[in-house]
């Protein structure tokens, strides 16, 4: 298994660094362009979540991202240094008419992650939360 590690301070600007890394890793292992776009968006959502909700935008706290590659899959783990999270809601979120005026415009992130990768799981403790995303290198419905 090969690993690529990217550590960033909890500043949203550096989410773009992780996203660029996801792009490079996706290309290096031969994912299709559409899968790379899915990967970039899922990683972006996970990193922003770690920065904002996990580390509460404290730039001294790091978000650690590990891209682990093997013959079958790419696994991306995103770990924050927060105090753990409650249950994570991956249910479908859409733009809802009744929320437009009130400005409740966030909350699509976890749904998008779960819909765009093959598998995702969360583990959380008082030392932080780790979100693990998995994409198989061949489409699962391939023969």
């Amino acid at each position: 298994m090969e690993r690529v590690l990217v550590n960033i301070p909890s500043n949203p600007l550096f989410e773009r660094v992780v996203r660029a890394s996801a792009d490079e890793v996706g290309q290096a292992i031969g994912l299709t362009q559409e899968r790379i776009e899915d990967l970039k968006l899922a990683v972006s959502e996970a990193v922003n979540n770690a920065i904002e909700h996990g580390n509460q935008l404290e730039s001294s706290k790091l978000v650690e991202v590990v891209f682990a590659l093997d013959a079958e899959k790419l696994e991306v783990s995103i770990r924050d240094q927060g105090h753990g999270s409650g249950p994570v809601d991956f249910s479908r979120r859409i733009v809802e008419e009744q929320n437009l005026e009130g400005g409740m415009h966030r909350g699509f992130g976890m749904y998008l992650i779960s819909a765009l990768v093959d598998h995702c799981e969360v583990s959380s403790s008082q030392g932080g939360t780790t979100l693990t995303l998995r994409l198989y290198r061949k489409e699962q419905n391939d023969e």
Binding site: L13, E15, E34, F108, Y111, L112
Partner: protein, 110 residues
């Protein structure tokens, strides 16, 4: 009109060309700030030709245009969305509030 949007107007139409290639948490504030009633026309089109990436923070900022256009009774469209972004817009039902339009459909207004 802003660092992230260039405005073009003809007849009843305003085309707002998004010039940042990343509609995300970093560009969101500037995008929201550009969503003013004076920027819009009865037909307002957001042009995504230069946009390579949109995440949920970016979608949230784009919703400001939805709110403003609905308040004014204007129609809002998206133009030059990539197939990937069309997929994402459908997933979160953004496309319900900002359907896509083709550039050729604007020709009649020019």
């Amino acid at each position: 009109m802003s660092d992230v949007i260039q405005r073009e107007e003809f007849g009843e139409v305003a085309v707002l060309h998004i010039t940042t290639n990343s509609v995300d948490a970093i560009s969101a504030a500037a995008i929201e700030a550009a969503a003013t009633s004076s920027a819009m026309r009865p037909i307002t089109v957001l042009d995504f030709e230069n946009v390579a990436f949109i995440n949920s923070a970016g979608i949230s900022s784009l919703l400001k245009f939805v709110v403003m256009s609905r308040k004014a009774g204007h129609k809002l469209f998206a133009m030059n969305l990539s197939p990937h972004h069309q997929k994402i817009f459908k997933m979160v039902e953004m496309s319900r509030f900002m359907p896509t339009i083709e550039e050729r459909d604007l020709a009649a207004y020019r």
